[in-house]
Amino acid sequence: MKRQALVAVAAATALVLTGCASGSDTGSKDSTELNVYAWAGEVPDSMVKMFEEETGIKVTVDTFDSNETMISKLAAGGSGYDVVEPSQYAVQLAVGQNLLAEIDYDKIEGMDNLMDKFRDPSFDPGNKYSIPWVWGTTGLMYNSTCTGGEEITSWSSMFDEKYKGKIYMLDNMLAAYIAGLQINGFSANSLDEAEVAKATESLIEQKKLLAGYNSTNYDELVVSGDACIAEAWGGSSVAEAVATHDDVHYVLPKEGGTLWVDNFAIVADAPHTDAAYKWMNFMLRPEVAAIATNEDYMSTANVAANDLITDKTMLDNPAVFAPEDQLEKSEFIVDPGEAMRFYQDGWTRVKAS
């Protein structure tokens, strides 16, 4: 009995000790490993394979499906990740919490390949902490068979009694407020309490017409006709649905477009910084950036990659690349900062109504 107990305690102690040890691997100059934490489906397998073959570095890719999950993991410390892929507002949050390392541009080549829109963006002046990878818009998706051939061009259709029970909104506060604010003629980045309150009213009003909130398979619902109109993030699966179904359309509403962009950034306590810089340089190369569009229907932020896109119809697919005139007046959805409390208050009321 005595011996068994001692063994048990020893085993428990060993477990705790090894648990601590594994987190403290400070990389040497020539790393053989790279840990990437990215949005699900935004780092193509062939890209990883190409990087591994070229550098001999073993890449581990973990995925997340919300910025908040990623940030809380980084904030807990000792995540072991080298490169993460935050969206625009999440860059602001991560920088605010000192979770990202400032990029040393002496070690970076190929920034000229990026589209102007993504150089020196509002959410990260001077690209100090992040380099854009793929981008897209927040718009609406509709099924023209379901709408009876009617062309949808405005958020107002999502507030129209006619489509009651056939409308889906994204189950995401910031995305829902884009519609709520823009339909009232306000900026999607409003910081004004009264404007947010007005948007809240509209969204509560709209809830009666909704089939539901959905940010997972809204594209399938539009394809099947269960949804006539759905608020949607342009990009891979939506773009594919548009390309393969004649009656499925994606539009940026005339009230104004909004942009999202997912960026690569180096983690402040990255164990393999040198490998992380190799990754940054690698993904900036046009032939690598083109993989994102060619294989996964994503719009690359790399304008030099456009010539290497094999399926040229992608360039005209609004769910991949937004038309240039619309892109021009589109704004990034940035973090509301202190105004967050207006949004929190409003969105709780919308959801509880």
């Binding site: 107990a5 305690v9 908040e68 904030a75 509880a352």
Partner: protein
């Protein structure tokens, strides 16, 4: 089939005066250490952290900055939180009642079978647990949604039925589905201990089906029923995936609110405060259950 009558009939020699167990040099503690440590580390410590955070402040980026304030708790006095809490308690209560009714009927059926069949039926109840909860919830989308068997059958019969996903009905069905097995087991365990001759005696004395259950079987199964009620009610309060997937995210349960507070609203202190309120409600319901059991033992 051990009855109290059988126990008292045991020859007195069997009952030996019990010796105090000897604890050798405190080694018993050593044996308990791994278990205690894991409870402290995996259950108590996280709750302490959550409790601490509920009194903390956070900056505009969502980082907890320490300090001590009751602000998060005071903010919960907004009626919108009471409404959500009330709605969650209501859903949990309805789910508990439905699970108890169905669970009672199922247990009553299983107990009446032969021992081999009982084992088989219990095994069948456990089989779904081999599949992840999330996957099973997704299965309900297919089952109730467009192109699913229920709609197909309804249309075959000419009944114009709309897809049931997303709807409140779907949420309720999935909740019953999720918690029914946990309701069946405790009730079954209680019922199995009831001497079948009691049922026969009740019938002999002129009790109908209803009276047999109301006056004999149900009272004797009370411990199991209370246990089942707790195992259904408490976890239902914490549910958040089912309303999102099957309810279209339109009905906010307190679990959903906590998730949103922690993530989208990046308001950890308030999320923690709401978690603490929920924890207290859960502990209260467990205490009520324990009191009911105690009161019953005393009257027995």
């Amino acid at each position: 089939m051990v009855t109290t009558a059988a126990q008292t009939a045991k020859p007195a020699t069997v009952v030996k005066p019990r010796r105090k167990p000897r604890i050798q040099n405190g080694y018993a503690w050593l044996l308990l250490t791994p278990g205690l440590l894991s409870v402290l580390l995996l259950a108590v410590w996280p709750m302490v952290l959550v409790g601490r955070n509920s009194f903390a402040t956070s900056d505009q980026y969502g980082a907890v900055t320490g300090g001590f304030t009751f602000e998060s708790y005071l903010a919960l006095f907004d009626p919108v939180y009471a409404k959500t809490m009330g709605y969650s308690l209501g859903i949990a209560a309805i789910n508990t009642v439905l699970c108890l009714i169905i669970g009672y009927i199922v247990s009553n059926y299983i107990v009446a079978q032969s021992p081999q069949r009982q084992s088989l039926l219990l095994l069948l109840l456990i089989v779904p647990f081999w599949t992840d909860f999330l996957v099973r919830t997704f299965a309900w989308i297919t089952l109730l949604g467009n192109g699913g068997p229920i709609l197909w059958f309804a249309h075959l019969l000419g009944i114009p039925l709309d897809p049931l996903v997303p709807s409140q009905t779907a949420v309720m069905l999935a909740l019953i589905y999720a918690f029914l097995p946990t309701a069946v087991f405790p009730i079954y365990a209680s019922m199995r201990g009831i001497d079948p001759s009691l049922k026969e005696a009740a019938t002999d004395l002129g009790c109908g089906w209803w009276q047999t259950h109301a006056r004999v079987i149900a009272p004797l199964s009370t411990p199991g029923i209370i246990g089942a009620a707790l195992l259904t009610f408490v976890p239902t309060l914490g549910v958040f995936v089912i309303p999102v997937l099957l309810g279209g995210g339109k009905e906010l349960l307190v679990g959903n609110l906590i998730v949103t507070l922690y993530t989208e609203f990046r308001n950890q202190p308030m999320g923690a405060a709401l978690s603490m309120v929920l924890l207290v409600l859960m502990l209260l319901s467990i205490a009520i259950g324990a009191l009911l059991l105690k009161a019953r033992k005393r009257s027995a």
